[in-house]
């Protein structure tokens, strides 16, 4: 019978020998196709190369030397949002993240991008992971926004003339808050008998553009009996770089983050950004080959929890005041798929009296944020963002919740595009915080964002 699998004659892999995607992970895929309808790019385009199954197949072919590492290969890998919805859908337990991430690193190392694209990426990685630099940029940005210049620019239609990616960046950036320069204290005492000593990640985009979310997170933790330590030495967790294949940069940031929290000596590390949380839980894998760091990274990762996870672990103690509001909960991909955290945020929200939480149809489909995907592939991101917003609008919710700053930016942008910017977007911790502090729904919907800890 001549139909047995064709055996190539030991061809050299198209990947270089440093951390190529490993055969054991690739071989987990049995080519069943259950991942196809879960994948945003397959849903949009219907072609096999832009599905997880197809991408894994292309990677396998490259590993077997039957396909080159070329621009076409890179395009299909770049198209991948890294949302990990395929991992949730896969019955065989394929660890897609362990296949795509090393592949992206291989691409960055072995293929050169166009000058324009390289520069743009360099710019992204030079700013986003650095809160101090982001803050500096925030000053002119705030002026741009508050002075009416932005409104004028949009009225004239200038963004349409900008290169797509710059236009995307322009539209995504949120209102720079007045609290942009506020900083959280290093240590916050618990407001009830101490149960835990936790570290908190302040993030990069989060701390600059959503400092009120960090403040709310710290307040809720404190209310639930946690001593919160926010080490000053911490940096960006490196998620954006891990997801884009910038391996060296990611490793450096990981080590810095681990060291900062080790010094703080905490029981748990709490993360309120889904994208960051998923990367930090994978530090053990990222640093597996580094003999000095492997064990430390694994220990660190074992302590990482999303804010909804830790609050679900601890019995709710602080009294929840009612919030008479109808909200829609948007599952961030890096929380629902990459970390498989779905029930905990819902359970927490269910603990708020009079709060109605609606499910968004097609909830497993990414909103298009996907790290910096909405900056690198704005066309596709907008298609997904519009689809997400259209689904959201069917819920008649007064506000939308998420667990990730990237998602919040994307949703806000999408709502603006649909002329619905009156619908606010919150991190779900803000609702918990409001409920604990007895803030009314009205105030929450229209009020100013409190970025300090003292307010109570």
């Amino acid at each position: 019978m001549s139909h047995a699998t064709i055996q190539p004659e030991g061809r050299p892999s198209s990947f270089d020998p440093h951390h190529p995607p490993e055969k054991q992970y690739i071989d987990d895929c049995v080519h069943c196709g259950f991942c196809l309808p879960a994948c945003p790019t397959y849903v949009l385009w219907g072609d096999e190369m832009d599905s997880p199954r197809g991408r894994i197949y292309m990677i396998k072919k490259a590993a077997q030397g039957e396909a080159p590492l070329d621009a076409r290969f890179r395009t299909h890998m770049d198209n991948c949002l890294g949302c990990m919805a395929c991992m949730t859908a896969c019955p065989s337990g394929v660890e897609y993240n362990k296949i795509i991430e090393p592949t992206r690193a291989q691409i960055e190392r072995n293929l050169s991008r166009s000058a324009g694209e390289s520069l743009f990426r360099k710019l992204l990685f030079a700013t986003f992971p650095h809160p101090a630099r982001l803050r500096l940029l925030a000053i002119p940005l705030r002026i741009y926004q508050k002075s009416g210049l932005r409104a004028l620019t949009h009225a004239i239609g200038i963004p349409r003339l900008l290169p797509k990616r710059f236009a995307a960046m322009e539209s995504l950036l949120p209102e720079v808050p007045s609290s942009v320069f506020s900083k959280l204290p290093v240590s916050i005492p618990p407001r009830s008998a101490q149960r835990r000593r936790v570290g908190m990640l302040s993030g990069c985009v989060q701390q600059v553009f959503f400092p009120h979310v960090n403040a709310a997170t710290a307040r809720v933790l404190a209310a639930e009996g946690c001593e919160v330590i926010i080490p000053r030495e911490q940096s960006c967790c490196g998620a954006l770089m891990v997801h884009s294949g910038v391996e060296d940069g990611a490793v450096a940031l990981a080590k810095k983050t681990i060291a900062a929290f080790e010094a703080a000596d905490v029981d748990t590390i709490v993360i309120n950004s889904a994208g960051c949380g998923s990367t930090m839980k994978e530090y053990g894998h990222l640093l597996r080959d580094d003999s000095a760091w492997a064990a430390r990274a694994a220990a660190f990762s074992a302590k990482c929890r999303d804010i909804s996870e830790i609050l679900s672990e601890l019995e709710p103690r602080a009294h929840r005041h009612p919030l008479k509001l109808r909200v829609a909960y948007h599952d961030a991909c890096h929380l629902q798929h990459a970390q498989a955290v779905r029930e905990q945020p819902r359970k927490l929200l269910a603990g708020i009296p009079e709060l109605e939480v609606a499910e968004i149809p097609e909830g497993s489909l990414c909103c298009g944020s996907a790290g910096v995907y909405n900056l690198l592939s704005p066309g596709t991101a907008n298609q997904l963002g519009d689809r997400k917003v259209d689904n959201l609008l069917t819920t008649s919710a007064q506000a939308v919740l998420s667990a990730n700053p990237g998602c919040l930016l994307q949703l806000m942008n999408g709502l603006r595009r649909r002329g619905m910017k009156a619908i606010p977007a919150f991190h779900m911790i803000e609702l918990l915080d409001a409920s604990i502090r007895g803030v009314s729904a009205e105030t929450l919907l229209h009020g100013d964002k409190t970025a300090t800890i003292e307010a109570n």
Binding site: A4, G33, G46, D47
Partner: protein, 495 residues
């Protein structure tokens, strides 16, 4: 150099002119020609067979499908249709250097008519989405293959897919009222109608299950069914699959018609548990029975079913208490194949059918055959209709094991035919069981089927090297052998 398995003696590469015609037919964004991209289309759910196509087209409308097919007809280029590529018999395996027509972009639901109980869809619509669309009105689309969250209606039509509930609810053909089909010459015709008994030959009935060899469907009118008042799912644990099988026979003998009956053996349970944690009881043979209908009737039937399970020695009986529990029970069963990846590096899933009464002896014989070659076989079956899915587990990395596994799977199929059954209950013949079709049907039978094929596709370009055991030319006549004109002319030889 691409690796091509040339099933077609006359395979040649597509010319630039032909590619240009295809591009004109579907637009530049509807054509794929890059080799690394074409590689992703070289197989479907059956990965043992891989053939590189010459091009892939992704039409969005029936007109584009016609245009692409006309290009193929004009140049006698073989073409193969493809939905989600989840088929398990190689039905979407490309023809060497031929065209793959992917229907994935034709995925709209065109019409929903609840009072007249039909839905009109494009072929790329996902099976489960049909039910999702009509569920709010209390209806569902009955054929539910395990891959229903991915597989497309077009693919279901090609294979006449069944699923777990076909004992009571029938197959795709039972629920197909009408089809728009692009014939291999590019003509668009309609078979059937939303109203019953359109005059003429039942071409819709012939087309469903023809595995893409008669044309490409571009629009399907499907029957939808009212959801029963209650659905109750029972799980019973037995010491062996044979005991579970006997219970099934007793249920039939009692005049009951459950909507589904499934049996899984220990290996299959293990894999399913690992995948979805449905909390199945570990046992030799797990029986899943689903009863549906008016609440009062179901209660009576459930009572009787429990009694029969107890009579056959069930060690544990559970009835799903909520829709969530019921979904979880089915999730395990439906993920069973793909979940095999967790307990074995490789596996072959077969799809034989046997008369229900032959189940116990066939299982015993399969065990014996497997033990003789030192391989494990997990068993999952639609016990209600005798459709057996033996999963032959092996490790590709061990030299020679794949061949042994393939051979064992074919011998199991022959066993099914010997016991009065069929070589395929739902996966189709495709590429994988071409030769076995010759074991099940005689020359006159095959020649008669060939008459139909030739009426639709005289040039043999629609999925040509599938289903039938040997390539046949269309002037072949049934009955005793007679030389084909090409042979007489000395141009061709049959070997």
């Amino acid at each position: 150099m691409s690796q091509c398995e040339s099933g077609n003696l006359f395979a040649t590469m597509l010319t630039a002119a032909q590619i240009a015609e295809l591009r004109a037919a579907v637009g530049p964004d509807g054509l794929i020609t890059g080799e690394s991209q074409l590689q992703t289309y070289e197989c479907d759910g059956l990965t043992n067979f891989r053939v590189l196509p010459g091009a892939v087209v992704l039409p969005r409308t029936a007109e584009q499908v016609q245009a692409a097919v006309r290009v193929c007809a004009r140049h006698k280029i073989p073409f193969v249709s493809r939905g989600a590529g989840t088929g398990l018999s190689g039905g979407a395996l490309p023809a060497a250097a031929g065209v793959v027509i992917s229907l994935a972009r034709m995925n709209r639901i065109l019409e929903v008519n609840i009072p007249d109980r039909y839905v009109v869809v494009e072929p790329g619509v996902i099976n489960a989405h049909v039910t999702q669309r009509v569920a709010p009105s209390g209806y569902f689309y009955a054929p539910d293959p395990s891959s229903q969250s991915v597989c497309t209606i077009g693919g279901n039509v090609a294979e006449n897919s069944g699923g777990a509930h076909c004992l009571k609810y029938g197959f795709t053909v039972t629920h197909t009222l009408a089809l728009d089909v692009v014939l291999p010459n590019g003509d668009l015709v309609t078979f059937g109608s939303p109203a019953l008994d359109a005059p003429g030959y039942d071409l819709a009935g012939v087309f469903v299950g023809s595995e893409g060899t008669l044309g490409v469907t571009t629009k399907i009118t499907l029957r939808i069914v009212k959801r029963p008042e209650v659905v109750q799912t029972l799980l019973a644990a037995f010491a062996s699959p044979q005991a579970a099988g006997q219970t099934v026979s007793d249920i039939i003998a009692a005049g009951m018609l459950p909507s589904a009956m499934e049996i899984m053996d220990t290996l299959a349970i293990e894999a399913a548990e690992a995948a979805v944690h449905a909390h199945y009881p570990m046992c030799g043979g797990l029986l899943l029975v689903e009863l549906d209908g008016p609440a009062i009737d179901v209660a009576t039937l459930m009572h009787e079913t429990r009694a029969l399970c107890e009579k056959n020695g069930a060690t544990e009986i559970r009835v799903a208490q909520s829709e969530h529990e019921r979904m979880l029970v089915w999730k395990g069963r439906k993920a069973a194949f793909a979940a095999m990846g967790r307990i074995s590096p490789n596996y072959i899933v077969q799809d034989g059918v046997i008369p229900r009464t032959a189940l116990p002896e066939v299982l015993t014989e399969i065990d014996r055959m497997a033990a003789a070659v030192n391989l494990r076989v997990a068993n999952v079956f639609h016990a209600g209709d005798g459709n057996l899915h033996p999963l032959v587990l092996y490790d590709h990395a061990i030299a020679g094991q794949e061949e042994i596994a393939i051979d064992l799977s074919y011998r199991i199929l022959h066993l099914c035919v010997d016991k009065g059954g069929s070589i395929t209950g739902e996966h189709g013949v495709g590429k994988e069981k071409q030769q076995a079709l010759g074991y099940m049907f005689s020359e006159p039978d095959l020649a008669t089927m060939q008459l139909i094929r030739c009426a639709f596709d005289p040039d043999s370009i629609a999925n040509p090297d599938k289903v039938f055991p040997r390539a046949r030319l269309c002037a072949d006549r049934p009955g005793p052998y007679a030389p084909h004109p090409l042979e007489t002319a000395g141009v061709a030889e049959i070997f």
